[in-house]
């Protein structure tokens, strides 16, 4: 490829030469196929820097939380500049969209058939493209060229890694990360508990009683009836923050997820009989005004506003909530204090949190890409950050001194299976011994901010409550120590009937559950279960179990 490039250049130079009426010997010869050996057949070092640099096209999403400094953009930042200077890769995004629009934009682009070299994909699109033979088979490239540290990190959780394999071939690089990070946690406003003289909740009954007290006993002391015990969004069935997953676990049911029943068969969690009891309870809470009466129209941004303005005392969220949600409340109210707690149960059986397979995106390479190996270069480059030998010089690729997480700009990334949990444990140990010297760059960042918080700066409250103690990772560590967590048992690509019917079924489920909570008869649940089975659910269950059989 390198050669072809130079040839083109010399041809252009020659053309210019003709214009100047000078002779240009050899131009014709250089253009003939015989003089251009196939670069793939020659022994070139695929992992060396491209010289001259090559263009690699890609697409990706960004999130509204991304921050930039020095006029950087997602197209031009420390990563893109280093790709060019160190790897000879001139990265060009054909598009970047906010994550909310990613699915649509990706579907439209795939439908138009114009694929860039490297694509961020989800499971469904990965399967579609692979089945239509549009992806480059990365099996051999990964085997041969992935660096030892890359392989070590990516294969820590092999089951997750293998979701990127189709027919035994590696059709994409999976974005590995930690599954336990996604487990739900109960967050409670402890300054309100203190004010009302209530203990921390140990059971579901406690949660309900506290929710009632938070609603009726004026915990913020402003004399107005304007607080809610428990907060949910309108998409509560699927939301990681303000969702119901943690609540339903207290009743040992798992709507929206696939779980094994006693006979070992996979069943859909939304049609488990005990869901009815849990819904009944939510209905009561709603009737008593303990849930926001308008939760049905509010999205996450709206409910976050309620938390920030001190209207909410409890919710189920994931480990990042102290940073992404509660911090706003802490900034507004100098007395606000929250605590993360393990899920509670309605009976003497433990509540078991349920999570999802941690792979949320895949990096696929177009079959038409001229440089399929570039993805491995980018991957190896990203994984260097986990190599303690070179970690120090890589520090600039993590979080800047001004607190900007530049690592988010990386095109290709992957995380070790327990990275965040280990970061918490290591940071805690360093705090106890006052010795941060053993910490990784990322961990040192957490350490510094926690020390800052303990010195009185509430702006870093969120970091303490995620990575310090008491914190959300205390709770996750507790789950791991007790080995008390499960995962959604189905993580394959959508089955044929799912593609056709799932959207309708999910919409029906959302509608029925929401309406029951808002006061419709509980009998609608039984009708829902019947309809669900009839309208494709039975067939989907069959397909899911066939998948499970194949992937044992």
């Amino acid at each position: 490829m390198k050669k072809r490039r130079t040839m083109k250049k010399s041809a252009i130079l020659c053309l210019a030469g003709f214009m100047l009426l000078t002779a240009c010997g050899g131009a014709k010869e250089a253009n003939s196929p015989a003089a251009a050996p196939d670069p793939a057949k020659t022994d070139v070092d695929l992992m060396a820097k491209y010289d001259p640099p090559v263009d690699i096209t890609a697409w990706r999403y960004t999130e509204s939380t991304y921050k930039y400094e020095n006029n950087d953009t997602i197209e031009d930042n420390i990563y893109t500049r280093t790709y060019l200077s160190d790897l000879g890769i001139n990265l060009k995004y054909v598009w970047t969209v906010p994550v909310e629009q990613f699915d649509q934009k990706m579907n439209v682009s795939i439908a138009s058939g114009d694929l860039p070299d490297i694509m961020w994909l989800k499971n469904k699109q990965l399967t579609d493209l692979a089945e239509n033979d549009m992806l480059y088979d990365l099996t051999n490239l990964f085997e041969k060229y992935a660096s030892p540290i890359t392989k070590e990190i990516m294969l820590q959780d092999e089951a997750s890694f293998n979701t990127a394999k189709i027919g035994g071939r590696l059709m994409a690089i999976p974005h590995t990360s930690s599954a336990v990070d996604g487990l739900p946690i109960l967050y409670v406003r402890t300054d309100w508990l203190e004010k009302l003289g209530l203990p921390e909740p140990q059971t579901m009954q406690d949660v309900l009683a506290i929710a009632e007290a938070f609603t009726n006993n004026d915990p913020d002391g402003n004399g107005k009836d304007d607080t809610f015990g428990l907060a949910f969004t309108k998409t509560f069935l699927t939301d990681a923050h303000f969702g119901t997953s943690g609540y339903f676990s207290g009743y040992h049911v798992n709507p929206g997820k696939w779980v094994k029943d006693d006979s070992g068969q996979l069943v859909y969690g939304s049609i488990q009989p005990a869901v009815k009891d849990a819904l009944k309870q939510l209905q009561d809470l709603y009737a008593k005004g303990i849930l926001d009466r308008e939760f049905g129209v509010k999205d996450r941004a709206k409910v976050t506003e309620s938390v920030a303005s001190g209207k909410v005392g409890m919710f189920y969220g994931s480990m990042s909530a102290p940073l992404s949600i509660i911090q706003q409340n802490v900034d507004n109210d100098p007395n606000a204090e929250w605590k993360a707690l393990p899920l509670v149960s309605v009976d003497d059986k433990k509540a078991t949190p349920i999570g999802k397979m941690p792979i949320t995106r895949y990096y696929g390479v177009s079959k038409d890409s001229k440089h399929p190996e570039a993805i491995i270069k980018l991957l190896n480059f990203s994984m260097q950050g986990y190599d303690p030998e070179v970690a120090q010089e890589n520090s600039k690729f993590g979080i800047t001194d001004t607190n900007i997480p530049v690592y988010l700009y990386s095109l290709i990334s992957a995380d070790p299976a327990k990275k965040n949990l280990n970061a918490h444990l290591n940071t805690m140990q360093a705090l106890e011994t006052n010795d941060p010297s053993q910490l990784s760059v990322e961990e040192k960042g957490y350490y510094d901010r926690i020390v800052d918080y303990r010195g009185g700066n509430r702006a870093n409250w969120g970091t303490e409550r995620v990575f310090g103690s008491p914190s959300s990772f205390d709770v996750i560590d507790h789950y791991v120590q007790e080995d008390n967590y499960i995962f959604d048992a189905f993580y394959g690509a959508p089955t044929p009937t799912m593609v056709e019917k799932l959207a309708t079924l999910e919409k029906m489920e959302e509608e029925v559950f929401t309406k029951i909570i808002m006061g419709q008869s509980l009998d609608n649940f039984d009708k829902f279960v019947e309809d669900w089975k009839k309208l494709g659910g039975e067939q989907i269950t069959k397909e899911v179990n066939e998948w499970a059989e194949k992937n044992k």
Binding site: V108, A111, K298
Partner: protein, 299 residues
């Protein structure tokens, strides 16, 4: 002379060329894409190699358990919007026309025109707040008259009307301007003559103003009938929720979910095509009626 005049007109005719080219590219070429409504469309195979399945996508569409209710919602919401979108601006234009002070008139015109420029994404967030049953300003106002709080966005009985009201509120400023323009075109001497004959303002409105506005009213009606199945994707998409699916889900939101979320392009196109065909029939029909009863035709 005739020849010379024709030659002079050539540049004028050339001026519509860019418009024609753009219309062909963006309105006619995409029509070819509707063939995927009859295919089991696979993006990687493209239009030419996807499997031909006849009317299966349409059959699938009609079999969908919620299709009839979605169709009904669309027609119901769209018709209410058309009626409100015609009546409210006419009344408002007539009232504004009676106002004396030019400054005051223009100020009002500007104020009612303003919401037209806000996107539904922004309005969605604002409306949740102002229509809130517990703290929203609208319900507080209704409370003054002893009316119990109404959950406009969360009650499926109220939701279609909320859509119509908020849409009318957003767009009636635009229509008002059109009708005000029509009003200035009415011959003032007619009013003078009517005053001489002793007609009061009301009689003048009935016998001069409204007949004078009739052509433009007919035009606006015919044009809006083509929208009878456009209940307003952006608006519904930003305001609906599981609570109001039963009365708020419309064809366009359904196409969005089938096509862009589930990537079933064939079915989505079939639904979209179905909608276009009905719209086409309706606009032809309304044009015929307008011609018959008001002597007006668009084509």
């Amino acid at each position: 002379m005739g020849m010379k005049k024709k030659l002079q007109e050539i540049p004028l005719h050339l001026m519509i060329l860019p418009g024609i080219i753009l219309t062909v590219i963006f309105s006619y070429v995409p029509i070819l894409g509707t063939v995927i409504a009859f295919q089991k469309f696979v993006p990687s195979k493209g239009i030419f190699n996807s499997k031909w399945i006849g009317l299966d996508n349409f059959r699938y569409m009609l079999d969908m358990p919620n299709f009839t209710s979605v169709l009904w919602n669309t027609v119901f919401i769209a018709i209410l919007k058309i009626i409100a979108g015609l009546v409210v601006p006419i009344i408002f234009a007539l009232l504004l026309n009676e106002l004396a002070g030019a400054f005051f008139k223009r100020t009002i015109q500007t104020i009612i025109y303003f919401p037209y420029f806000l996107s539904w994404v922004i309005l969605g967030g604002i409306l949740i707040d102002i229509l809130s049953p517990s703290s929203g300003i609208v319900n507080q106002f209704l409370g003054v008259f002893g009316i119990k709080p109404i959950f406009f966005l969360g009650d499926d009985k109220w939701f279609p009307y909320t859509l119509v009201l908020t849409d009318t509120w957003k767009t009636f400023g635009y229509g008002t301007i059109v009708y005000l323009a029509a009003l200035t075109g009415i011959d003032q001497s007619l009013y003078e003559a009517a005053t001489m004959d002793g007609a009061n303002r009301w009689k003048q409105t009935i016998h001069i103003t409204l007949p004078g506005m009739l052509p433009i009213i007919t035009l606006m009606t015919v044009l809006s009938l083509g929208n009878v199945l456009n209940a307003g994707f952006e608006q519904v998409f930003n305001l609906y929720s599981p609570m109001v699916y039963s009365t708020g889900d419309i064809i366009d939101t359904l196409v969005y979910r089938i096509g862009l979320v589930d990537a079933q392009y064939g079915v989505a196109t079939a639904v979209g095509l179905f909608k276009s065909l009905i719209s086409f029939v309706l606009i032809v029909l309304s044009n015929k009626l307008a011609n018959k009863y008001a002597g007006y035709r668009v084509f």
